[in-house]
Amino acid sequence: MSGFDIIKSDVLVIGGGGAGCRAAIESASRKCRVVLVSKFPVGKAGATVVAENFYVAPFGITDPDDSPEHYFQDMVRGGSFLCEQTLARRLATEGCDRVMDLERYGVRFKKGEDGKFFQMKAPGHSRTRGLSLVGGGLGIMRGLQRELRKYSHVQLLEDVMIIRILTDSNTIAGAIGFDIRRGRLILIESKAIVIATGGYSTLWLHNDVPCDCTGDGIAMAYHAGVDLVDMELVLFYPTVIIHPPSGRGVLVPSGILLEQVDANLLNGRFEKFLPENIPTRDVMNSLIYREIANGNGTPHGGVFLDVSRSLLPKKELKNRLMYYLPEKYKYLLKYGIDMIREPLEVAPMAHYTLGGIMIDSECKTRVFGLYGAGEAEGNVHGANRLGGNALPETQVFGTKAGELAAQWARGHDYVDWNPQEVDDEAKRMESLLELKINPINPTVLKRNLQSIMWSHVGPEREERSLKEAIEVISRMKEQDLPRLAIPRIREFNLQWLEALEIPKMLDLSEMVVKAALLREETRGHHFRSDFPERNDETWLKHIIIRKERGEMKLWTKPVDKISTVNFKGMSK
């Protein structure tokens, strides 16, 4: 084994999205040497860039009686009582402070003439508390990037994928990265690590997330000994375009359109099917599925999201679209799609993963010096995330994780890493370049996995299909993985990158399926057609996954009920 660079840092942040950048800023501001690693260039990587302009913070401007307490209760109810309440409470109480940080970094939110934040309503939130970000998620990224540049002791590694976390006696020693540009390994020695690598929505064939959201960090954390939680819970966004083809895979923010622009969801016969009060996204999904299952779908198998039938004058509609969704509206126009003139055919697609790394209220995990932040962490939202809650999550938990990682790094010394582990990883990486008998292309294997996950473990699940999926996935692990072969090119070889992602995606898929099989009930976004009812007697529980002596172990743990939330909503 030879020829790899060693980089030393106090805190290693993995993931160049909103949570990772915020964590890096926080650690750097506490005088730590930070290395920030991103699979693609920052600002052109991760899910924050693609986020809409909707950002929830309970400032109580439009509704003066709003408070973090109300926000917290909405989250607990919206998540079907499965969220970890200490985490939800942190999100509710620190959300406003983090907005003020973002403003300091130059991120702009829409304001009224009085100079106060403009707020809008969203499904599931009992008060009007959604801020409107200028420039959407990219607006946040630009601000975070500007702030990051102020710290000369932050080293940015772009086009690098971390492939393994190194520990000794359950304590962080560092990580091994794969430099995509040169096709070489990099070793990063570090006292603390923040995992902010986002979710794993690309496990499903139909998703609306960028291709780099493969959940690497969650799989690595699992192999490092961290507990994962509620991996079966996946948010399928109800309204992603399936037709016209030029807009396929583009998310249309249903909450804003239905609440603010006088849009309607219609079935294939152009009949309304939503109740008067616009439901949260999990409920909306099940209503859409009922229409499609009853033969009332559109020609391409979805439902219509329709602005064109509004009684409002066309000019007013255009004004509202330009006010509430300027980027999205203009982008679709560029693609020849005018919402005002034609209804869109939409259907649910994988959008956000609710499960992930199990953290305590300070973002700590079971491994000393390892912290989780953003979508990579689990159990903040429970079985459904309310709209506008993802961006605040990146900022609140990114900050906390960065703070705690810096604290740990200042109080501890470096831990030795095991050269054998690095050697193994180098061999595994190089073996992918070798010629194979009956080779399989990594992109093909990825598509096969995504297809099985969509057809068998998608928005609707049942025992038989889940068991079939487990068989297929273990066959892929045993028979297909050893046959992975890639072009023999070192520099920027995308197939190499995919071949390194796939074993992690297979691990995550296995976890999702096993947990989905175990949760014999329907809750939030987890819809078991063979157990269609929510079961609060047995299932107010998390499903925990841990690696023990090389085996995947699953068990349940009751949800901590620490607050006096009005649980009247619990009986359905």
Binding site: L138, Y331, Y335, N493
Partner: protein
């Protein structure tokens, strides 16, 4: 757009799209060369989806930036198309198109269409 495509020089209707990618690897001794790919035109096809198609089904050795923000704002897929700076995601293809694709000018090329930012 669903009607037959443009006529070629023999007077026949062309439904295909021809994409020529200027390929190079500054780290190797190989001289830069042009690779030609012919695709069946599909409704709504963009240059980005065409590159995805080439990578997945025709030639897995090409290097390009696969990230897509679905909003046309991240500039990850900025490339040179027939000499002009374009975003691959919002460059629409028409049946019969001939496009020469190069990496964006003025930035260090990593390989093929990929540059550092």
């Amino acid at each position: 757009m669903d009607q037959a495509g443009r006529q070629d020089k023999h007077g026949e209707f062309q439904r295909d799209v021809e994409i020529i990618i200027r390929r190079s690897n500054p780290h190797s001794q190989e001289i830069p060369k042009d690779a030609v790919y012919t695709l069946n035109y599909k409704e709504g096809m963009t240059l980005h989806s065409a590159l995805d198609y080439i990578y997945e089904l025709l030639d897995p050795t090409i290097a390009f930036r696969p990230y897509k923000c679905n909003k046309g704002i991240c500039m990850s897929c900025l490339i040179t198309v027939n000499g002009k700076k374009r975003q691959a995601c919002s460059t629409f293809l028409n049946p019969g198109d001939h496009l020469l694709i190069e990496p964006i000018h003025g930035r260090p090329v990593l390989r093929d269409l990929v540059t550092s930012f």
